[in-house]
């Protein structure tokens, strides 16, 4: 039994747990940054920027994430290589699209053709992070856009009355206050992000669900030292427990942050907190 649980394949599933956690950890701040950019663009004074922000939010949110993942990574990869190709090989003669093939010069390959495996893996991981961040950035943008509008107008007007410039009002008044309005939406987004990780294998990252399927599937004696029947059920049960625990822990942590943020805010929650301590 102990031997079975420590085969190389099982080691892979343990590593994939770390991979997933790492991905979540990296994606969250990047998605938030995208969201912030998107929301700021969507309420910009400059019309093209505003259109861009709104279109980004509407289009990416309108499409099921799974459909997006199925073609977007390849497109992203080709875009990166296309740009590098244009910069690095200006005197390349052949066409880039040869029939069905997408051909760029060797120097433009990402990563380079002779790069070791771990570089390929990290690059794939990076693309997955970026794709996740773009999708969830759109949702975050939507949340932040709402939150910025939820900050009471009086607060902003007061800032203007104090002679703050628009820039100052934005950074000193609006941004610090919007978080408390954004947090419920953002925490849900985080929950959603956790639950989107089974789709990672579409992006070429072998996640826990991929390994659970691989390990749980029926194994015939010819191809393994540990033949067994269809054990997917048990592996998925373990995954279920993992996800439920992770959700629970996230809920507790987010509740803490919320009570921190509400502190001293002009909202019902802040009022209740003030009364409780008074």
């Amino acid at each position: 039994m102990a031997c079975y649980l420590t085969t190389g394949k099982h080691m892979s599933i343990y590593t994939s747990v770390l991979t997933v956690l790492l991905l979540l950890g990296i994606t969250a701040p990047i998605a938030l940054a995208f969201g912030f950019g998107g929301a700021t663009a969507a309420r910009s004074q400059i019309a093209p920027l505003r259109w861009f922000g709104k279109a980004y939010i509407a289009i990416v949110r309108g499409v099921p994430d799974i459909a997006f993942f199925l073609f977007f990574v390849i497109a992203l990869d080709q875009a990166v290589e296309y740009l590098r190709h244009k910069v690095l090989c200006p005197d390349w003669e052949g066409p880039i699209r040869q029939g069905n093939d997408f051909v760029v010069c060797q120097a433009a390959k990402m990563p380079l053709g002779n790069a070791p495996q771990w570089v390929h893996e990290s690059y794939g991981f990076g693309l997955a992070v970026l794709t996740f961040a773009i999708v969830f950035g759109a949702f975050a943008a939507n949340v932040l856009f709402g939150a910025m509008r939820a900050v009471p107008r009086a607060q902003l007007e007061t800032a203007e009355a104090y002679g703050m410039s628009q820039h100052q009002t934005f950074w000193r008044i609006l941004v610090p206050q919007m978080w408390v309005y954004a947090l419920p939406g953002l925490s849900n987004l985080w929950m959603v992000l956790i639950k989107a990780t089974p789709l990672l294998f579409l992006l070429g990252v072998e996640d826990i669900v991929y390994w659970a399927r691989e390990l749980g599937g029926t194994k015939t004696p010819r191809f393994t030292d540990y033949p067994h029947g269809d054990w997917r059920m048990w592996y998925f049960l373990a995954l279920l427990v993992f996800y439920l625990l992770f959700t629970r822990v996230s809920e507790i942590v987010l509740a803490r942050i919320m009570s921190r943020l509400t502190h001293g805010q002009a909202t019902a929650g802040g009022e209740a907190q003030r009364k409780a301590t008074a």
Binding site: A58, I59, R61, G62, V63, P64, D65, I66, A67, F68, L70, F71, I74, A75, N100, F139, N142, V143, F145, G146, A147, R149, A150, P184, G185, N188, L189, M191, V192, K195, A196, T197, P198, L199, V209, R232, M233, F236, L239, L240, Y243, L244, T247, R248, A268
Partner: protein, 268 residues
Amino acid sequence: MSCFQTIQDYGLRAIGIGERLLPREDFTLCHQFTLIGSGMIWNIYFGLLALTLGFFLATALAMGKASSRTLFRKPSEWFIFLFRGSPLFIQFFFAYFLFLNLKSVHPFFEPFTAAWLGALVVLFFNTAAYSAEIFYGALLSIPKGDIEAADAYGLSGWSRFTRVIWPTMLRLAWPGYTNEAIFLFHATALVFFSGFPAWQQRGDALYYASYFADKTFNPFVPYPILAFYFILLTLIVIAVFGFVNKRLNRHLPQNTRQKIRLRPNLIR
């Protein structure tokens, strides 16, 4: 073959009407649009029914979670936690497995292993759990004055619920609920992708999109078509829910009416 002919042949292919065989060569844009559109029938079917059924269960669950009786509260809390805490992917897997086993116990469960019912049940429970959480949040933020006023008018029990609490709860929850509806429609794409088998090549939009991607080896046409359909669907959902929102808020003075703000309170 004209595009009109194609629509006649394949427009209802997803529910088994029309040509028996899927197109196997010369994939035109018309083919792809028609078949993927035909698959949307399933997405709409799952989304609409799960949403309608889930609405009622969600109300019950929200009331249960807000109840002071442990007997009602605990099961509701656990139901909501279980379905909100796990990926839909895994829910589909377990549901299919469960229905298969139940089937051998009693023939009543026979149809549950087919997507049209089995997946519907999962989506129904799933959306009920998510909506219940939204409704619960709204329930807690009903102004105290409203309930006191109802008491003062001598309303109690059922009539207090249907006339005061329920409408107010809906009004408050509506923006969040709109988002849930959008996400439910997106979630329907997972049905044939991971959970349930497709019979006789009748599948949803994603099933046909991946069919074309597989046959043409070019993902850049079918998936954007799929995306186009879903954006369209999302716009329709937003429009319908916006209309309902207007009705829910029609008694309020013009300037305090709550605009439907797509601020996702709860999303999948």
